[in-house]
Assembly symmetry: C2
Homo-oligomer: 259 residues x 2
DNA sequence: ATTCAAATGTTATTTTAATAACATTGGTAG
DNA sequence: CTACCAATGTTATTAAAATAACATTTGAAT
């Protein structure tokens, strides 16, 4: 009786591949073995599966990973993003058709959408799509293609054309770097096309970015600052931007909103 | 102090919008309130959120939905699907480019893919895409469009064209109904186009279906039985199909595999 | 202000899960 | 066949979460 543990683990993994959880008791029955044996199997699996209070699940980090660890909690990053998105959500109206960019910055924005009537969300990010897919009041259009795990987003030749066909009301754009003169940049080159297409075709362009991105340059530039109508940001970045442009009402200057 | 519970729930919901979990203690701190209050809030939320062993999460997140309830467990459906998929996986080779249909039937198939080298998976189903997205050895191509929650899949004008451009090695197709004379059907009309395109363009077509679908007719027909090269099914359906075609080697007859 | 009731906090109790310790089984080498 | 050892099962113990009970706070009406 050698290697049976591996067989059981494979079977459980297969059962859980599509997401979902299993009661410990059910996992045990599924494998025809005692609960203790399942516990030992999972413990020996080296972290591919875990128990969460009696429920077995795949421990793929991003999904299951707690949002805040007690340690990093003082760094109020997630809270900051929530504040930014709360502010950004102020620009949304019932019936809008929104473009939501990839990354984690705009994630809390999705959490605010259930308060509206009949929105449409266009995105090329898998994480955004998953969050939106649960909202009954939001129509979801996902722009597919080849998946890039690094940014949880898709790349496609047809991306730009698809976006231009869609009629986007308001585009919420995120960035990995924002520099007062050089402009706005991101990590991955395949993000450039959809970002630019959304900026081109949207009625209103809203850049959402926190202080940690200010002054930073990342590999791929995709826009200059004055291509945005509104910039929602933290106090520090906001101050910088307003100092750089003493007359924010002048033509082409985005309105800066501090969250 | 009225309606604060709702405010806290909204905040938590927003924090969890992108998926993931929160420790009870962290949720309490996030809202500046005691753990007991969070417990009461969640209990009053009417099932939108739940605790799983001290972790707060969105209840409807498929990631955390239980696969089997103790009650329905006797009906060994999920086990049957696993057996079918195990059998179906036998047709996969390293380097293959696979089409995987929507629904839950083919979900366990994804669980077998980590054993191969360098696969490509093409799908128009969000649940399949999510499962595949975690596999480092599989390239994922998601065919996007307008999302349909009923089947967790996408609809698009460009679907057929996209599929034909892709070069699919083996197409794994699921069905909601399979009838010996009338053919193979599904619930949703928007599934017909991608299914047919995949059947048209794939090198090998593999229908995977369990006994509960046999003799059933659903709203949308998409293929006849002899359009498949292989049918992977349970004992009962397999017997029926073999009886109906006494000479399975005759031209155009699919090979029937009983799992 | 005073009073009341809803909301929240605190503590105690029950239930459940996780761990540890020990007993049993079963395959395999000698 | 027998003795051994890994694998598994069983039971006991510990830790943690869910519930319940009761105390305290807080906001609004009188």
């Amino acid at each position: 009786m050698r290697g049976r543990s591996a067989i059981r683990l494979a079977r459980l993994q297969q059962a859980l591949a599509g997401g979902g959880t299993l009661r410990l008791a059910d996992a045990a029955r599924l494998c025809g073995v005692s609960e203790m044996t399942i516990r030992r199997d999972v413990a020996a699996s080296g972290g591919t599966m875990t128990f969460l209070g009696g429920w077995l699940m795949m421990a793929r980090d991003p999904q299951f990973a707690p949002l805040y660890n007690l340690d990093e909690q003082k760094g109020s990053h997630p809270l900051a993003k929530q504040r930014l998105c709360q502010r950004a959500a102020g620009f949304i109206d019932d019936g809008d058709s929104l473009f939501i960019d990839c990354g984690t910055t705009l994630m809390p924005l999705v959490g605010t959408l259930d308060a509206f009537d009949q929105l449409t969300v266009v995105t090329y990010a898998l994480n955004v799509a998953n969050a939106v897919s649960h909202l009954p009041n939001v129509r979801l259009v996902l722009l597919g293609g080849l998946f890039h795990a690094s940014s949880s987003s898709f790349e496609s030749d047809a991306m730009a054309a698809s976006i231009r066909r869609l009629g986007i009301n308001k585009a919420f754009i995120s960035a990995a770097g924002i520099h007062p003169e050089k402009g706005v940049s991101c990590f991955h080159f395949h993000e450039v096309v959809p970002k630019q297409a959304a900026i081109d075709s949207a009625g209103q362009r809203i850049l959402v970015t926190d202080d940690s991105k200010f002054g930073v340059i990342r590999p791929a530039f995709f826009a200059s600052l004055d291509q945005f109508d509104i910039i929602v940001t933290d106090a520090e970045t906001g101050q910088h931007l307003q100092d750089a442009r003493p007359t924010p009402e002048e033509a082409g200057a985005p309105r800066v909103m501090i969250a």
